[in-house]
Amino acid sequence: MNNHWQPTAEILTLRERAKVLAQVRAFFAERGVMEVDTQCMSHAAVSDPFIDSLEVSYHPYPGAETQSLFLQSSPEYAMKRLLAADSGPIYQLGKAFRNGEVGRLHNPEFTILEWYRPRLSSAELMDEVQALVTAVLGEQHWERLSYRELFLRYVSLDPHAVSIEHLKTLLEPHFDMPFTDDRKDTWLELVMSHLIEPKLIEPVLVYDFPASQAALAEVKSDEHGTLVATRFELYAGGMELANGYQELRDPQEQADRLQADDQFRGQSGLPQRPLETRLVAALEAGFPNCSGVALGFDRLLMIKLGLSSIKEVIPFAFERA
């Protein structure tokens, strides 16, 4: 009676998965991008306040005092250290881990495709994202919109100028949200995830995010004089599929952002973990002008196969892992 031994994905789906894994590797081999497989387990953890790392206990022998190590939420830090060591263009297709993320579109252990292109601008990298996704999904109607244009089109407001109160009034007729949050980005993200994202079925590359959502992207002034992050995201199939940056190169700015994240974690009661200061050292040693992007491989497969839940494309999803 108990069928809990069975995979959550059908074998036919896994055959398709294997084909797309091979296809992605062929795509990069042809373009002279080197595959790397950096560590899943590191002494440092991601600083992003809203990404929680899984902590593992390492000990030199059973019974000895343990040391906390962290499963990587993406290979970004390690890959950037390789770039600083003159690796040239690199990609990684492997596992990443995010604590607490389980749902229709999330599995705490998932397959990430991340790649870095020295000398390419983020606009040129968007071209490559489009080429890769087209290779897997076939020809589709693509669009490119700035974050501002996207909000103007779907909710008729300028996200850089709008107030938190105004964002709330957009959401209230549809959703009860009886909580407070004085972070404007939270409300922008809610509008994005609740009102806009579900409508983005055909691929849309969104660029020039608010500077406050820069993460590890460079910040610049756009044509309206607004500070924006040279960050882009790909949405398709009603979900977030990829996130890319014109990568930050300034070591001091990098160190400041790590500190700011850590401080925010402290103030918000979120766990504070060892920061990846070796990334700062790597940028100091010299980091190429470079763009990078990470794409959710499982979600790409969901779109290709028309499946609505991530567990249907993963051999053994969280509940059966």
Binding site: H106, D176, L190
Partner: protein
């Protein structure tokens, strides 16, 4: 009852929201890669039937509601209340008009129904998906007309009025789908 944090919400979970017991019809974990996690829930108020969406922050929780579904036997109605019995314990429960609602017209004495209890009080009555009821009033049947379309109203023993094929006569027992209110076949 305990509390359950929004990260643990699941479809079918019963929780208290604004003082009323609610069923989680649909639960969706929402989290932008770099952003905050939320849980978007489609809720059904078990007292009023209202369905709406509520989004919870990851640090929010909800009190679980003492709601359970029990199979019971329908006994009778005294005109004001409908009486049911739990067949193992012989314990009897009385449900009011709000709880029985639309289900009343499908209740036949002795039938098995599902009663939703909140703090041990009936708040909803779900009749079986299919019931077999006798026709007490309808126009005379038309001989020979067995296949071709056409229907007429028929009043059933419970008072429900169902559209039935023209060949059906008074006194016949019919199988009805209570979810759609449609005639299925002769029993």
């Amino acid at each position: 009852m305990g509390n359950v944090s929004s990260g643990q919400f699941k479809t079918g979970m019963k929780v208290m929201v604004d003082g009323d017991p609610c069923n989680m019809v649909e639960v969706e974990f929402v989290k932008p890669g770099k952003g905050q996690a939320f849980t978007r829930v489609r809720l059904r108020n078990l007292l009023t039937g209202r369905i709406w969406e509520r989004t919870f922050k990851s640090n929010e929780s909800a009190e679980t509601a003492d709601v359970m579904d029990r199979d019971m036997e329908y006994l009778y109605s005294d005109g004001e209340m409908w009486h049911f019995m739990e067949p193992q314990s012989f314990e009897q429960y009385a449900a009011d008009e709000n709880a029985v609602a639309e289900g009343a017209k499908w209740l036949k004495e002795g039938d098995k129904v599902m009663i939703t209890l909140w703090n041990d009080n009936p708040i909803a009555v779900t009749p079986p998906n299919f019931v077999e009821l006798e026709v007490v009033e309808t126009d005379p049947g038309l001989k020979g007309d067995t296949a071709n379309g056409g229907s007429k109203p028929a009043k059933m023993s419970t008072g429900a009025v169902v559209k039935v094929p023209l060949f059906i006569n008074e006194g016949e027992v019919l199988r009805i789908d209570t979810r759609s209110g449609e005639y299925v076949s002769r029993a």
